[in-house]
Amino acid sequence: MSHDLYAELAAAYALGALDGEDRGRFEAHLRDGCRVCETAVLEYGKSLASLAAELPPVAPPPSVKAALIGRIGGDARRARAPWRLGWAAALAAAALVVVYLGWTLIALDRELAQRVHEVAGLKGEVARQQEVLKILGSPQTQVVVLDGLKPSPAARGRMWWHREAGGFFVATGLPAIPSDKTYQLWAIAGGTPLSAGVFDVDPKGTASLRVKPPAGVEKVEVFAVTLEPAGGLAKPSGAMYLAGKAP
């Protein structure tokens, strides 16, 4: 096809009158980058615009503009700030996100620390329970019954005692005591009382205590509970509330 034939198609194309296979052929020719035909189409377009501009003018009714103004007012795609404001908004939003993420991280960190603490507490609790179960389940464990003495005859105590693992002590029926006092448990071995720990009672008068095995003690003869100043003493000084002899 000689270029002169394309030049003919350019005129029809500018008029929007190209159809059939001529149209596809000419559009492919334009896509191939023919500057001559592209310029011709533009020039014909200008001439046709000039031709249209010579028609006697007919003004559209104001209702068309009113409808358009209403329509673009509701156009969400365009109803936004110009670029500079857009950037400012984007920066502000980014800053908010950073603050939010920072705050969330701090909160998460705090939450994590609390959970770690809880897990540590639970682990310790499980370890204590396992020790108690081991003590209770061992055939070498002795059970020492402590009876209430003169200040609290109705009180009772039990000591599950294992020579190597130590013991688990519970008491019931002990009277409430002032805050400057404490109950102290004693393991008496070879006639010498060794402190096995201090404890307070709940409002029902009950208490429980895990007891570590005293170092270098082969056999405990007696367990006893006395009332001592808060914090306990190295040697018993107060009244004895419970006492029991090991078998």
């Binding site: 030049a7 003919e8 198609l9 350019a10 005129a11 029809a12 500018a14 008029l15 929007g16 009158a17 190209l18 159809d19 059939g20 001529d22 533009l42 020039e43 014909y44 377009g45 200008k46 001439s47 046709l48 615009a49 000039s50 031709l51 249209a52 501009a53 010579e54 028609l55 006697p56 003018p57 007919v58 003004a59 559209p60 009714p61 209702s63 068309v64 503009k65 409808a67 358009l68 103004i69 329509r71 673009i72 007012g73 156009d75 795609r77 365009r78 109803a79 936004r80 110009p82 670029w83």
Partner: protein, 188 residues
């Protein structure tokens, strides 16, 4: 030229979402576009619908405007003409206007008295001032394509001329118009 660059500035502002620029752009070009649309589709209600669609698309597509590819006037008129012809064709498809191959003389006789002889005569007179340099056989072909949206094959059928002849006359007619307007721009 100054008018065109003001139009370009308005399109740039429209591309940035400036509604005031859109309002100014409409005031500047709506009558021009509506005149052409009315000439093509005829019915005022249809023409108003097309005008609204043309300017709505201009609002949406302002960013795609390329100054190198035509003046703002040509840009909006090209859209106006294209949408108006789409409308005309859709009306024809509905059978409201009959465009089967006709004998041209009969078609012209049916058109000439018209429903509104005054405005038709006025249109024809002014259009002739721009098309007067063209021989009748070229002028008619350009009118059928430009104002009535007929394709080259439809024009060949309508006029009973070979397609090759229609193509050749279309080109020579447009070349004559281009020469006319180029001279007018150069002398103004």
């Amino acid at each position: 030229m100054r008018e065109a660059s003001e139009g370009v500035a308005l399109i740039c502002r429209i591309a940035a979402g400036d509604r005031e620029a859109f309002s100014d752009f409409y005031d500047r070009y709506a009558t021009l576009a509506f005149t052409l649309i009315r000439r093509i589709v005829g019915q005022p209600a249809d023409a108003e619908e097309v005008l609204q669609e043309v300017f709505w698309q201009a609002w949406r597509d302002a960013r795609a405007y390329d100054e190198g590819r035509g003046s703002p006037e040509a840009w909006i008129l090209n859209r106006a003409r294209s949408r108006a012809i789409d409308k005309l064709r859709s009306i024809r498809r509905k059978g409201e206007i009959f465009v089967a191959p006709l004998i041209e003389e009969i078609a012209r006789e049916a058109e000439a008295p018209g429903q509104n002889p005054a405005s038709l005569a006025e249109d024809r007179k002014v259009v002739q001032t721009a098309l007067q340099l063209l021989p009748e056989r070229e002028r008619r072909i350009i009118e059928l394509a430009f104002f009535e949206g007929l394709t080259q094959s439809e024009i060949a059928l309508r006029l009973g001329e070979p397609l090759g002849t229609v193509k050749t006359r279309m080109r020579s007619g447009l070349e004559r118009l281009r020469g006319h307007f180029a001279v007018r721009v150069a002398t103004s």
